[in-house]
């Protein structure tokens, strides 16, 4: 009797956990399939080369949003990655334990700040005094989200560098600083790089911070000082519009965005695998 009961519980739990795993996996494939189905129909060469058209006109594309997203994300990476990386090196290698805990905890909190709040913050700090929306403001807002991710990745992978390597460098007469730059960071390089790619890919899909900062633009924007179109905001404005053709464009944009994020993910994994291969020799 007890044995039967135990067996039954075992089977129930196995089924339950297996089903949950199936839901997780199928979520991605459902989204992907749905996007492919809806977006694939409207995705053509024009999407990558032309500007959006007014409602009522068929066709057009989102070239400005693709370039705009690239500009904003590049700015975010340029601002956020060095700051996150340096802080990660600081708490991973130089600061005391208590200081590291405080900074790590703060970074986790920053990571948990709702992205819309970050948008409002950047709006208050940059958009209001500058009196207009800009790619600068958008890049700044996203950089605030890049910093904690980069910091954590840096610290985590630096922490995995074995003590023997550090001591090996010190034993040859390297100062602490030199050993970190010449041995520890290179040893953790691939892991850190992977974390950075994933983090930057993650923020490239953020919408809320851009609504308050880069806003949107139906046309090309010059430089970084003008309101700038981006794929996530473009998806948003097109999706809530009443026009059938805009909905199709939104699906296409969603597909492109997801494709870019997937490519970044795969690239990150390849970097990591290649790094692991050179470590093995």
């Amino acid at each position: 009797m007890r044995r039967l009961w135990r067996k039954a519980v075992n089977n129930v739990m196995l089924t339950l956990t297996g089903l949950c795993a199936l839901v997780t996996v199928s979520a991605l494939f459902l989204i992907l399939g749905y996007l492919l189905w809806n977006g694939g129909k409207s995705l053509d060469w024009d999407f990558f080369t032309k500007l959006p058209l007014s409602p009522g006109e068929l066709g057009g594309g989102m070239a400005n949003a693709i370039i705009g997203s690239a500009k904003i994300v590049a700015l975010a990476a340029l601002l956020g990655v060095p700051i996150g990386f340096m802080s990660g090196v600081y708490i991973g290698e130089f600061s005391g334990k208590n200081m590291a805990n405080v900074i790590r905890y703060t970074a986790d909190l920053l990571n948990g700040v709702p992205s819309i709040v970050i948008g409002i913050f950047a709006w208050t700090l940059l958009v209001v005094p500058m009196r207009h929306f800009s790619a600068w403001a958008g890049g700044f807002a996203l950089s605030l989200m890049v910093i904690p991710v980069t910091l954590r990745a840096t610290e985590q992978f630096l922490g995995q560098v074995p003590l023997e390597l550090r001591e090996g460098a010190l034993a040859l007469g390297a100062s602490k600083w030199k050993s970190v730059v010449t041995v520890v960071i290179p040893a953790a390089r691939t892991g850190i790089l992977t974390g950075i790619i994933l983090g930057v890919a993650r923020v490239s899909g953020e919408t809320a911070p851009l609504l308050f900062t880069a806003l949107n633009n139906q046309f090309w924007s010059k430089g970084f000082g003008e309101p700038t179109a981006s794929l996530p905001v473009m998806i948003y404005t097109h999706a809530i519009s009443p026009y059938e053709d805009w909905h199709r464009q939104a699906w296409a944009a969603g597909l492109v965005l997801l494709g870019l994020v997937l490519v970044a993910n795969i690239a990150a994994r390849m970097v990591l695998a290649k790094g692991a291969a050179t470590q093995r020799g």
Binding site: P162, E164, L165, R166, E167, G168, A169, L170, A171, L172, G173, A174, S175, K178, T182, V183, P186, A187, T278, Q279, R280, G281
Partner: protein, 282 residues
Amino acid sequence: MKTIMGAIPQPGITGSASEQTVASFTPPMPSDKAGPKLRAANIDFFYGKFQALHNVSIEFPQNQITALIGPSGCGKSTFLRTLNRINDTIRGSRVTGEVVMDGINILQVDVTELRRRVGMVFQRPNPFPKSIFDNIAYGVRINGLARRSEIGEVVERSLRRAALWEEVKDKLHKSAYALSGGQQQRLCIARALAVDPEVLLLDEPCSALDPIATSKIEELLLSIKDQCTLIIVTHNMQQAARVADLTGFFLMGRMVEFNKTDIIFKTPARKETEDYITGRFG
């Protein structure tokens, strides 16, 4: 974080080593060749509140191999690691006493210069994730010891000294991780030799290696002892017997006995030494 007691540099300790009493119960220092290269006196070492070394004093004669033996946790590695101050990096550690090299207390000198002069080879081979060439060149480059054009020469000379040149000369720019464990350890020795250390510390350098790789390392140690003073920590008593001129026996943070290797192994003065050597514990 370092308390230094009696840390007055003592020039001219080149005289007879027998003036130094190593520990109250050990016989006079058995260095009959040159004077001591390195002399540790009254070393106490603490990890926080735990005292890992108690009043250790020992003299290492120039161009000799000294083995430190003893059961796990007896402090022999801790002692070795005070000699190049790599223990400095451990938070909460503290050392008192003095370590004198060529008449200068090393607890007071610039630590990076000290470590250039006192090299170290670790228990597990620890090549950097770089090419074979860059591994060897590392110490030379960071210490600015050679001009760019001379680095190739230094690398070849060091690899030859470590008897590794013939095996790696065609793949100098391949990753050091492509080498076998034994080759990696010889690479680490070559890397240490590249900066011309005066003393080389070896912390159980063969414990991760098979017997053939071990015997290559031992040959190598015997071949470089005319160029530097070697101190090796080992768990392997046969290894101590094979390579060492002198042997010190550690037990529970104290140095119990120090003498010529054949005396330690044939007629030890202390009962603990005899028990350990004959395998009654440890």
